[in-house]
């Protein structure tokens, strides 16, 4: 790994952590909610999602390492509630860095105590602001129901590119 890559990883790791800390302080209405980066504990918990009949994707979150290596400016979030992993998400700045993409989000389909999307959007918003990005994009909603759900928060769908966006 190049020294410049290590430097960038360190720099953005701090911004990521600070952004998550800032949003966790604001969202105090939901008790026992924890905003963490993706770690071994989260990956191990996500492995158990394979056993769920309600799961609609078959992603192997263990493969997240390559994404991590490739994008030091990435957004990532492991959202926990009452010691349950409620969702994982991953994103990165857009090509010209004017926006922040949410490339992947998956909710724990067997845990319904928390609505994860709006919390993730809020966390993304803080990180995007720190990066100077002006737009949030949510890539590739898996079905129409999910797409419509995103639209309730003011996101607009762009068919060319299959994503939704909202200004920061």
């Amino acid at each position: 790994m190049l020294a410049t890559h290590i430097d960038a990883e360190r720099r953005y790791d701090k911004i990521r952590r600070d952004a998550l800390k800032a949003i966790s302080i604001q969202i105090d209405s939901i008790q026992n909610l924890e905003f963490k980066l993706i770690d071994d504990l989260a990956l191990s918990a996500a492995k158990k999602w394979n056993e769920s009949d309600n799961r609609l994707v078959s992603w192997e979150w263990e493969n997240y390492g390559q994404f991590k290596m490739s994008y030091p400016k990435r957004f990532e979030l492991a959202l926990w509630h009452n010691n349950h992993l409620t969702s994982l998400s991953l994103g990165r700045p857009t090509y010209n860095a004017t926006g922040l993409r949410l490339d992947f989000i998956e909710r724990n389909s067997d845990y319904e105590d928390v609505k994860v999307f709006q919390i993730t959007l809020a966390a993304m918003n803080v990180y995007a602001d720190a990066l100077g990005a002006k737009e949030l994009r949510v890539m590739n909603p898996i079905n129409d129901e999910v797409k419509k759900y995103y639209e309730t928060f003011g996101l607009q769908y762009v068919a060319k590119g299959d994503y939704l966006f909202i200004r920061v």
Binding site: W59, L90, T94, N96, G132, N140, V146
Partner: protein
């Protein structure tokens, strides 16, 4: 006609928000009580992995338009 250089500063530069300010605005915006009645889909997910299951997608957004 060219614009005078002195006019460049006509618009005051916007001060960047602190993380705390951003977080306040973001939580007010996305956790507004008006969304309380909206039900989140059980199998909520977004994204597209490569055929090999890799999280790095081949598709790049080439412009921000």
């Amino acid at each position: 006609m060219t614009k005078k250089i002195s006019n460049i500063n006509d618009r005051p530069r916007k001060k960047p928000r602190t993380l705390e300010e951003s977080a306040k605005i973001a939580s007010r915006r996305f956790l507004d009580p008006k969304y309380n009645s909206v039900k989140e889909p059980k199998g909520l997910a977004s994204g597209k992995v490569s055929k090999s299951g890799n999280f790095i997608n081949d598709e790049e957004d080439e412009c921000d338009e």
